[in-house]
């Protein structure tokens, strides 16, 4: 299978601090790839190199290749169109202080879609895709800030879907949510991977084991182990991986 993202020899510095060290990973399409590792090991940093959100920080120096469908995202693509293809969902649900409808229509509108009919259709599909349509269809004009945390997070997923990406990056999307909302989002990921490629950071080992196809274990900016999730959780190759997933440190 052609990989979606092909990352090789990626090094990232925040000023003097070496945050990612020679990271090489292939992320396969229509899979959920989980990134695990102790706090501060560079999971979020790595995730943000995939859609160039790191460009927004001061003093970031990146070296190495990140290829999306064979094209270098830093040399052959502009950040704007890259981010339309690689959507992002954050740890804290962050709906805009706008109506539910306007939140979802935000991406398509940026891309110049003006037709009401077209927008209505995109919004409905995205909300259905994020499994929240039934809960909000009667209150599309109401502010998104009135939704519960779990609903807000699914709305943010819908908002990302509406921009028409083929990859979704999720940075601990359920860490601020209750168990029921969490399991809804997990189900959703399993559903979404039919159409999208998903890369998810998680601190929850069970979650990684439940929903991901492949898992990468990060430690101090390095990828220690990257393999099939089943394999990693049943017989990790590296001692440090084993210690981490069995809860002996981290």
């Amino acid at each position: 299978m052609e990989s979606k993202f092909e990352v090789s020899k990626l090094n990232l510095h925040y000023g003097q601090f070496h945050a990612l060290k020679d990271v090489s990973l292939s992320i396969l399409p229509h899979e959920v790839t989980a990134l695990i590792g102790p706090s501060g090991c560079g999971k979020s940093t790595f995730l943000k190199t995939l859609n160039r959100m790191n460009d927004l920080e001061e003093g970031v120096v990146i070296d190495g290749d990140v290829l999306l469908d064979g094209k270098d995202v830093y040399k052959e693509m502009d950040a704007i169109s890259l981010r339309q293809r690689v959507g992002m969902v954050f740890q804290q649900p962050n709906p805009f202080p706008k109506s539910i409808y306007e939140n979802v229509a935000y991406g398509p509108k940026l891309q110049g879609i003006r037709s009401k009919v077209k927008l209505d259709e995109i919004v409905e599909n995205a909300l259905r895709g994020a499994a929240i349509w039934d809960e909000v269809k009667d209150r599309l004009k109401k502010s998104a800030l009135g939704l519960s945390g779990g609903q807000q997070q699914r709305l943010c997923i819908a908002r990302a879907l509406a921009a028409g990406p083929d990859v979704l990056l999720m940075d601990e999307p359920t860490s601020a949510l209750d168990p029921i909302s969490t399991s809804k989002i997990e189900e959703l990921c399993t559903e979404l991977k039919k159409d999208y490629t998903i890369v998810m950071v998680t601190h929850n080992m069970q979650q990684a084991a439940r929903i991901s196809d492949r898992t990468a274990f990060f430690l101090l900016g390095e990828v220690i182990e990257y393999s099939d999730t089943d394999q990693m959780f049943s017989m990790p190759k590296d001692k440090r991986t084993e210690d981490y997933i069995t809860g002996r440190f981290g």
Binding site: N51, M53, L56, I80, S81, L82, R83, Q84, G87, M88, F90, Q92, N94, P95, F96, P97, K98, S99, Y106, G107, L110, Q111, K142, S143, A144, L145, G146, L147, C156, R159, A160, A163
Partner: protein
């Protein structure tokens, strides 16, 4: 448990102190408003409401018109300055210096601004007293207020808005224009209310700019004519100036009554404006925050 008892007692006492202070100021405000309005009504004669040389209708109109003109200058410029400072200016000496300049601007004595306005907008331009130069002069005073509230509002926005927007492929400007500014609007509006309040009451900055005379012909709608109500380049005495002029020059026997009545009208105008603007702001806020 003695410490707890004491803490509770202190808590009760402090609560009472704050209630008393707040109550005192509310009473003071109400008493003040009643006094001003009561004295205004006491000396009221129907002619005072007329739009003629004797009434204060023209001054009332000038006041509102001047506020509109001043906001026309200071709102876009103030918001632009605030956005620049919050979003584009690189933190550093120059930006810091600029911020200090802007803050200083707002604490300039208004008579100084008035004289500056007179020199620049009247003498250098070679014009007579006019509303536009008055509006520009007071804009100098209230621009900082709008700029600072905009800057503070922008800087207080959660990082998630920016990240969310950029993450969807928005540019910096799109993020400002479509997410951050709309979200800041209720707070910016508060700044605008304060700024407008300052224009309503301003006198010193207008003395030598908008001028102390007003001559309006309400059937003349030729905007280039100096007596057309809407001509922004005609002199236009405002209510605040009229109060001052009536009180100091006493050109008429009932000047004191006119001044009192003008004060009452000005007070009501300011109240009505800020209540109206606040209702609007509240409604905006509620729309953003999302009732269920």
């Amino acid at each position: 448990m003695k410490a707890n008892e004491k803490a509770k007692r202190v808590d009760r006492v402090m609560t009472w102190i704050f209630v008393a202070v707040a109550g005192f100021f509310i009473l003071l405000l109400i008493a003040f408003a009643l006094l001003v309005i009561g004295r205004g009504i006491a000396g009221f004669e129907p002619y005072m409401l007329s739009f003629t040389r004797d009434g204060i209708g023209n001054q009332l109109f000038n006041t509102v018109y001047l506020v509109v003109l001043a906001l026309l200058f200071s709102v876009p410029l103030g918001i632009a300055t605030g956005v620049y400072l919050a979003e584009y200016a690189k933190p550093g000496k120059v930006t810091h210096f600029l911020s200090i300049c802007i803050e200083t601007l707002s604490s300039l004595p208004s008579i100084v601004v008035g004289l500056f306005g007179y020199l620049v907008f009247i003498v250098m331009v070679g014009a007579q007293w006019n509303l536009v130069s008055g509006a520009l002069a007071v804009s100098i005073l209230n621009l900082p207020l709008i700029a600072t509230t905009t800057k503070d509002a922008m800087e207080s926005m959660p990082k998630g808005y920016r990240m969310g927007s950029m993450g969807l492929g928005a540019t910096h400007w799109q993020t400002i224009r479509r997410v951050l500014l709309p979200a800041c609007m209720p707070r910016i509006l508060t700044g605008i209310i304060l700024a407008a309040g300052r224009v309503f009451g301003e006198a010193a900055a207008l003395l030598y700019t908008a001028g102390m005379s007003t001559d309006i012909n309400w059937s003349n709608w030729d905007i280039t004519s100096p007596t057309c109500p809407l001509n922004p380049f005609r002199p236009g005495e405002t209510l605040a100036l009229h109060i001052w002029a009536s009180r100091t020059e006493a050109i008429r026997p009932d000047a004191a009554q006119i001044a009192n009545f003008s004060s009452a009208v000005l007070l009501i105008l300011v109240f009505a404006f800020s209540i109206g603007a606040r209702v609007l702001g509240r409604r905006m806020e509620r729309k953003l925050a999302g009732g269920k």
